[in-house]
Amino acid sequence: MKRLLLSSLVILIGITFLGRLSYLQIFSFSPDQIAEDPAIKTIYDYPERGYIYDRNGKLLVGNDPAYDVMVIPREVKPLDTLEFCSLLNLEKEKFIKQLRKARIYSPRLPSVLVHQLSKEDYGRLQEKMRKYKGFYIQKRSLRYYDTNSGANVLGYISEVNERDLAKNKYYVQGELTGRTGVEKQYEEILRGRKGVQYIQKDRFNRDIGPYKSGSLDTIPEQGKQISLTIDKVLQEYGEQLMVGKRGGIVALEPSSGEILSMISGPTYDPALLVGRKRSRNYTKLYNDTIANPTWDRSILAQQPPGSPFKTLNALIALQEGVIDVNTTIRCYNGFYVGRSKKGCHCGGGLRNVNSGIYKSCNAYFAGTFRKIYEKFETTDEGMDVWEKHMKSFGLGNYLGYDLPYGQKGRIPSKEYYDKWYGDNRWSSSYIISNSIGQGEVLATPVQLANMTAAIANRGHYYTPHILKKIEGEAISNPKFTEPKHTTIDRKHFEPVIQGMADVYRKGTARWVQIPDIEIAGKTGTAENFTKIDGVRTQLTDHSVFVAFAPVHKPKIAIAVYIENGYYGSRYAGHIASLMIEKYIKGDVTRKDLEKRMLEKTLEHEYAKPYSGEEFKINEYVW
């Protein structure tokens, strides 16, 4: 025993030490060494964020250098405060207060003393800065907007939050990231890659020299400049037209799927979310929950599409062979569903595809819709076929465009109605409203525009997209460059397009003709409801219009959705015709109409549900 005492103790301690060391060095060891090491300081070198241009090379978003005067309180030596303050255009009291604040934050770390000097001040100060120990000027770069439109499409950048940090290891506290729109979608292209420099420190936080002689350091990679498919002129024009109105406009180039403009009303000046006033402005915009300017209606507002939807029902009926161009249906100033009569404004009489479309006859399309379902033995089968055709136009699901947000819209399926009414307890008359774009169908403006582009192309579309070029090189993503085909044969489009062209010539939109340009379009008037104090209340109809032009070789397809704008041609139709003229001709000849559209607002309509008083809807006030 006495001989073994020391030996066993030696062995015991040896094992204990090895156990503790393996715990420390093997089990507690975290491989993320450099980030946690207090002896290594990481300095980042930020590249300039990429510029954003429009489709014609016009600048949309650039950068503005901003100069902050920084201070490291510990390094400040006694100075001529008065002279320094006059250089900085700063009052002495303010200067002393800022300095005290900086010292409280940290004596060793830099704080901002003066935010965002002008370039002139910077030039004047730069040479004299050396005199003042502990102060230096740091160059930063802020987003600069060469337009006051496109806020929601372009998006904005802001500081990363905890969630971003957890999601993406690239970012560190205080860095900026694209938050919405293109800035978010193409963050990595625009951002570039920051350069990293590791500095070895001692325990007094002094720099000793580069860590590993700088072998791990990287140089920054510049952010790339991108060109959008947006037409700056059209975008700005559309936003001017939208002043005082709520809704969305999406214009596409049918032959490529490029988004020419994407307008949401009301909107805001993107410059509001830059610089010193950013957070105050953001709160203001964010808290406006009624007008909701930060909510991009062009891609997020799911609304009943209204009459433009009739064109698709006509196409499906033609494709399924349940009607031909000569099939007629009589309109009795309305139509019957069981015993109840639903109204129609077309004037009554015999209707075929052509007049059904240009007069927007509800009775004709209700009858056509029934015919589609009657072709099949069960409603379920009819529903499946109808749903398949509809979805082939990019409705009822995410379109797949390159913006970070979206909504599916809705093309109801048989499962949807089974859930609603019960299995086999519904028939085509239950869902007849879908024939005229009311009922259960919902679509966003971008989906309506895309649907119109598919019609303009006579049966196919290109997925809408916003990115045209990266560093001058056109995109080659097959997702955007290869056509998607609808389930409707090409030959069925002509009669429908003829009907849409007649909408202008002699139909519901004959007031909005553009000289020299042949347009095909379809008006829509969508009933809508809201809840006021828990009571379902109808509001003034939404004004909807889809169109493309020219009819042959279309250059633009557009969907305009004006909330509570009353009937289709009233606001949406006019705005669409102005947009088309502006895009194709470069200028608008109908100055009176333009002036009226720019000046008219719908604020009185939007105020109605909040007035607390009884109100009339669909008033003919012009």
Binding site: M1, K2, R3, L5, L6, S7, L9, V10, I11, I13, G14, T16, F17, L18, R20, L21, S22, L24, Q25, I26, S28, F29, P31, Q33, E36, D37, P38, A39, I40, Q200, K201, D202, R203, I208, G209, Y211, K212
Partner: protein, 427 residues
């Protein structure tokens, strides 16, 4: 006797372990003191250069130790002891104060730390006393004398103040135990430490309850087989409870705050995270930094001269008491386990050598050597890796320090000299 024959019979395995440790030690001293401006190895104004000088001096010392007559050490051990004690005493009027402790003589070219010398002398003197034919360790008086031999230098060193070095002398108790001091002394000592720690960690109440529970169970089981002496048993229990209460008193009223902090850090007593953070930044700073440095080394370490925390001087005293954390950071688990294993094998080898001595003096001195080296290793590494409270003593052969390296070398090689002669009967 010729030096040549000594070299033939010396235990080369121990020498190899010794050389490994000194080499690794110097390498890491170099790493923790070198600056990029002056990377030369032979720079005697830098600490690593000085240490290299002392390594050379140690080789000289080894040659002298091996050249001397083998019975020289036994014969003059009492004299060495006496001289060592006088030198220790002399510190009080003549010593040089560094960092608050008067533990050095300024010899011009280097500072001599006599407590290192006293370790060698005390080990020799204790071996000499215990191996005396008239000493009977079973006798109380002789036990007392033996303990007095190691108590005197400890008492002389404590007021320097250098409680760490003083503690080292108690390791020589292992020698006395080996030579027959009843082991229940050790049992009592162990019990005292256990109660002390348990009281601090769990409190007197829980200690009493669990003790009472254990005794009851013991009674119920053993009741039939033998008659339990109730009165001594009960009084032992009462003594324990009283001792536990006194521990509380001593801890709260006799200890100073810094002592309390060390214990609360060691035993993880502090539950308030704010105060814990405070302790970490002040009294526990060294331990925290050295643990982190070791942890950051991982399995294979960051590589020689690549330790960022070492370069940044985050661990104080990293070239001396905290040298092990440099090894941990730069050489990883491979390095630290190599050092721990080398020490363990060295100790086991030395114990083996001691046990095979025919001469009791050699055996006892051998035990003394192992005890002293072992307690340094235990306390130093235990402190650096955060399982023992902070007590500042060096890691033998590895920590920076001229006196340390020189006298640890002499301590070891006197024993290797004795061992080399074990087969020769003539003294």
């Amino acid at each position: 006797m010729s030096g040549k024959s000594v070299l033939k019979r010396i235990d080369w395995l121990s020498v190899l372990f010794y050389l490994i440790l000194v080499f690794i030690g110097w390498l890491n001293i170099y790493s923790s003191t070198v600056t990029e401006a002056e990377p030369q190895i032979l720079n005697f104004s830098a600490l690593h250069g000085k240490q290299l000088f002392f390594a050379g001096a140690s080789i000289l010392a080894i040659l002298i130790v091996l050249a001397l007559e083998v019975n020289f050490y036994e014969r003059f051990s009492s004299l060495f002891y006496l001289i060592a004690m006088v030198i220790l005493l002399g510190l009080y009027p003549f010593g040089k104060t560094i960092a608050g402790a008067t533990s050095w003589y300024d010899l011009g070219f280097f500072n001599l730390q006599p407590s290192e010398l006293a370790k060698v002398a005390t080990a020799l003197a204790l071996a000499k006393y215990l191996s005396d034919i008239q000493t009977d360790i079973k006798r109380r008086k002789d036990q007392l004398y033996a303990i007095l031999i190691l108590l005197i230098p400890a008492i002389l060193i404590i007021p320097q103040p250098d409680p760490g070095s003083a503690l080292v002398f108690f390791s020589l108790l292992f020698v006395i135990f080996r030579e027959g001091l009843p082991l229940y002394y050790l049992g009592i000592l162990f019990l005292v430490i256990l109660i002390f720690v348990a009281t601090l960690k769990f409190g007197t109440l829980w200690l009493t309850i669990s003790l009472a529970l254990l005794t009851t169970i013991f009674f119920l089981i053993k009741r039939k087989t033998f008659k339990v002496p109730i009165i001594p048993f009960a009084s032992a229990l009462v003594a324990i409870v009283l001792f536990s209460l006194s521990v509380n008193f001593v801890f709260n009223h006799v200890f100073e705050q810094r002592h309390r902090d060390r214990f609360s850090l060691w035993l993880r007593l502090e539950k308030d995270p704010k105060k814990l953070e405070q302790i970490r930044k002040t009294i526990g700073y060294n331990t925290y930094q050295s643990e982190k440095a070791i942890e950051s080394g991982g399995l294979i370490g960051k590589g020689f001269l690549e330790g960022t925390r070492t370069k940044g001087d985050f661990v104080p005293e990293q070239h001396s008491d905290y040298i092990f954390s440099t090894i941990g950071e730069e050489w990883g688990f491979l390095g630290t386990s190599l050092v721990v294993l080398t020490f363990t094998f060295l100790f086991l080898r030395l114990i083996h050598l001691a046990e095979r001595q025919k001469n009791p003096f050699s055996r006892m001195y051998g035990y003394g050597v192992v005890s002293i080296l072992f307690i340094h290793f235990l306390i130093n590494v235990g402190m650096v890796i955060g399982i023992l409270p902070t007590i500042g003593i060096p890691l033998p052969f590895m920590s920076y320090g001229g006196s340390g390296l020189l006298f640890f070398t002499i301590l070891l090689f006197i024993f290797l000299r004795l061992d080399a002669n074990r087969l020769k009967e003539s003294f």
